[in-house]
């Protein structure tokens, strides 16, 4: 159904909210502008208007000193809460931001029901009027907003979780000088994310793709004055850009193959192309290149190292962007173009291997982290790896299922961690926490729900989604059995580190400085979203109950029209037979998953219930392994040494040796040559009349001589 103009309102609302909040921020800041005319500089001002400038300078110095104190490196996140109450404009900005999110959520729900009202099957698509973005002869990009089962599901997640996190942020960011700015960025992010999932064109998707990258950059570097958040932001942007470059090349290949970037056109024509057997290599290369983009955005090996650093941003940002939504963009892209990826066995296997490897790296690194947000960050890397493992085994719906449950429980865990950090006066080191269940009961209980879901405890949401992925991997057979084993190992590690985190944070003795730190429960603005997410984390599994339960898999049915093309391609390759596990095997896998989760959760919890001795012992006895795991297998350091440093060197050599010495040397050398030649010739003109006379006479004699001689 075309021409649904209102679909544009879904992304437009957050965009408008962002602009309003941004304007409110600009109105709210104290700005000292330079005088309107003439050349001005700080010193000139001193002499010109002595008093006022000196006063201003003193004010600035004082302000900066306060600022610096507020950002002592030992502190976690942000400004003193009590120091500066928010201005009216900032409160208004927050209100606007939450309001537009509520509006977008309402529209997303409306869209969901509008889709459900349509007959089942491929006609379940709503499309807005197109926007003719780029048009040159032979190449056109028209973008419209498309609501189909997949984008509708993601819209609900983005707007729903996004709305909750906006509400949470009103509490968490209270007192921050950049309060209004924060909401402006957050709204802008939601806009970009919605563009990403709703665009009909790959290039429209790319607007969102880079847009979320930009917002991630801005929000990671939100507390830029501390220095390292700005560096983390830069790292995130550049690593994403590496993926984006791959994405761009992939898009060029797609244009060359299909003559369009319209996603549904591409999806519809792949089947015929695969059957014709032409362009197989090109399709494979294009798929791998696009997957390269996914590796950057969704933090997969080898481009995952930016995500842990991204924790320098405020915690709601980590929850929204670096757990629930942006990092899942890669999964969305693969599912959206699933026949492209499904067309080649090699591509699927590469995706599966990368996913499994990333899952293992992330989980094993999370084992030894002390920073609660780092544990969650590596856990996110690991869970994203699971999603790619699912994609690699052709289980597109399972990947989306895990994406949704992960958005619930990981968003919850991040927000819970934020609540702990908030209550602990910006302490993130779990070794300096402990016993917080008494002081922060609501946070504790909701955190338990999230931890249970993450570790895959039976009947919680994460259990079902993770089990579905592992079952699919197992069913794919062959080399996928190895990946399945890796997945199972990762599940064990996941359960262990999750409950280690719970034990260290909420159980045992308080290891913090009790004189100065008085943990307290967070305000309702923060705990209510926690409770909502906790409920979702517990019951979210209902979206996709296993076949053996005898209930329809709701998500599978819903996503059927989107994932059918890719699944059909895989089925065709296997001669039309799906891998089916017998009920007995299914039950066995479910039982195995439950047993592993329960066992390792128990081990993790008991090892750390008493305190941190185990960590210290490990660091003492096995320092090599401890360091190896702590630094994510040393991959980041390797990048610094093998890539960043050489590039810096190359840049330096390019500038000094090639540019200044060789090229500019040639240019200046030409000039020098002319100068030297002139210098050599000037001895002929020494200024003496007689010398000139000799030249004249000699010249005349020569002329006469040649004249006579010839």
């Amino acid at each position: 159904m075309a021409d649904q103009l209102w679909l544009w309102a879904i992304p437009a609302l957050p965009l408008a909210g962002s602009l309003i909040a941004g304007l409110l921020y600009l109105l709210g800041i104290e700005r000292r502008a330079a005088p309107a005319h003439g050349a001005h500089d700080a010193h000139g001002q001193h002499s010109a208007h002595g008093d006022s400038a000196a006063h201003a300078a003193a004010h600035a110095a004082g302000h900066a000193a306060a600022h610096a104190a507020g950002h002592a490196p030992s502190h976690d996140d942000h400004h003193d809460h009590a120091s500066t109450p928010n201005k009216g404009s900032a409160k208004l900005a927050a209100l606007v931001a939450c309001g537009v999110m509520a509006g977008a959520l309402a529209l997303a729900i409306k869209g969901f029901f509008a889709l459900r009202a349509l007959p089942e099957g491929s006609e379940r698509v709503l499309e807005s009027t197109p926007w003719h973005w780029i048009a040159v002869t032979g190449f056109q990009v028209d973008i419209s907003m498309v609501l189909d089962p997949l984008s509708s599901a993601l819209c609900l997640v983005i707007c729903g979780v996004g709305f909750l996190i906006h509400v949470y942020s009103t509490g968490y960011m209270k007192g921050d000088p950049g309060y209004a700015k924060f909401f402006a960025y957050l709204n802008l992010f939601v806009f970009a994310m919605l563009m990403l999932v709703l665009s009909s064109s790959l290039l429209g998707l790319f607007i969102g793709w880079e847009g979320v990258g930009l917002c991630s950059y801005l929000l990671i570097g939100f507390w830029y004055a501390k220095g390292w958040p700005a560096e983390a932001a830069q790292k995130a942007f550049v690593m994403n850009r590496i993926g984006d470059a791959s994405f761009l090349v992939g898009s060029f290949m797609l244009v060359k193959l299909f003559g369009t970037l319209d996603l549904s056109d591409i999806v519809n024509s792949i089947g015929a192309m695969v059957r014709s057997g032409e362009h197989t290599t090109e399709l494979m290369v294009a798929a791998l290149l696009l997957f390269g983009g996914c590796c950057g955005k969704s933090a997969q090996f080898p481009l995952f190292t930016w995500l842990p650093d991204a924790m320098a941003g405020p915690t709601p940002v980590s929850a929204l962007i670096h757990a629930a939504t942006m990092v899942t963009a890669g999964i969305y892209l693969v599912v959206r173009l699933n026949p492209l990826f499904a067309a080649s066995e090699i591509v699927l296997f590469v995706i599966g291997v990368v996913g499994a490897l990333t899952a293992l790296i992330g989980a094993s690194t999370a084992l030894v982290q002390r920073d609660i947000k780092k544990v969650l960050a590596y856990s996110t890397v690991s869970q994203l790896g699971y999603m790619f493992l699912a994609l690699g085994s052709g289980a597109f719906a399972a990947a989306i299922f895990h994406l949704i449950t992960h958005a619930f429980f990981k968003g919850l865990l991040f927000l819970g961690a934020g609540s702990v950090i908030h209550g602990m006066h910006h302490e993130q080191d779990m070794h300096k926490m402990g016993g917080l269940r008494k002081q922060m009961p609501r946070t504790f209980l909701t955190f338990l729900c999230g931890a249970g879901a993450l570790s895959g405890l039976p009947l919680l949401s994460g259990f079902f989604s993770k089990d579905e992925i592992l079952a699919h991997t197992f069913a794919s057979g062959g080399a996928y059995r190895v990946l399945w084993a890796v997945g199972l190992l990762t599940a064990a590690i996941t359960a262990f580190y999750t409950w280690r985190m719970v034990a260290l944070t909420f159980f045992g003795e308080g290891r913090y400085d009790k004189k100065h730190v008085h943990p307290q429960e967070s305000p309702a603005a923060m705990t209510v979203p926690l409770m909502v997410l906790a409920v979702l984390s517990v019951v979210g599994g209902a979206l996709g109950l296993p076949v053996v339960f005898g209930v329809a898999h709701a998500l599978n049915t819903w996503l059927e029209p989107v994932i059918a093309p890719g699944r059909d391609l895989i089925l065709a390759r296997h001669g039309g037979e799906a891998h089916h596990l017998s009920h007995a095997v299914e039950w066995a896998l479910l039982g195995l998953g439950s047993a592993i989760a329960l066992f390792f959760a128990h081990r993790g919890f008991h090892a750390y219930k008493a305190g941190i001795e185990r960590d210290e012992g490990l660091a003492r006895k096995r320092p090599g392994m401890f360091g190896f795991l702590g630094e994510a297998w040393g991959i980041d350091n390797a990048y610094t040494q093998r890539i960043v440093q050489p590039i810096k060197l190359i840049a330096f050599v390019t500038y000094v040796v090639i540019d200044q010495f060789v090229i500019d040397g040639a240019v200046n050398g030409t000039a020098a040559l002319a100068r030297t030649t002139g210098g050599g010739l000037r001895v002929l003109t020494d200024g003496r009349v007689r010398t000139y006379g000799i030249w004249i006479g000699g010249g005349a004699a020569l002329v006469v001589f040649f004249w006579i001689w010839s």
Binding site: D686, R688, G693
Partner: protein, 106 residues
């Protein structure tokens, strides 16, 4: 009896050579100017000799004498300018050495 033209040309060549030599060897600007005059007069002698050589009896060739008169006139002007320069130089440097002027060295 008539002096043969060859003799006149030889005399002119000798005078010219003396002039060139003086021009190149002497540093005193006045002497240099005199040498230039010597060269000019050598040229005049050549003009006159050639003119006589080309004359038919009763119909003298006047091109040579006319040129000679031109040269004398221009030599006078040149001498005036030259001597003025010498005076200017002397005022400036208290010398008439030509090597004292090297400011226009390349």
């Amino acid at each position: 009896m008539q002096v043969p033209s060859e003799h006149l040309l030889i005399l002119a060549a000798v005078l010219f050579a003396i002039g060139v030599l003086g021009f190149l060897v002497r540093r005193n600007v006045i002497v240099v100017l005199m040498c230039v005059e010597l060269m000019l007069n050598a040229a005049n002698l050549t003009f006159l000799a050639a003119s006589r050589q080309h004359s038919i009896p009763g119909e003298p060739n006047l091109v040579g004498p006319v040129f000679a008169i031109f040269v004398i006139a221009i030599a006078a002007a040149e001498a005036a300018v030259g001597l003025a320069l010498v005076i200017a130089l002397f005022r400036l440097r208290q010398t008439t050495e030509s090597d004292a002027m090297q400011e226009m060295e390349g």
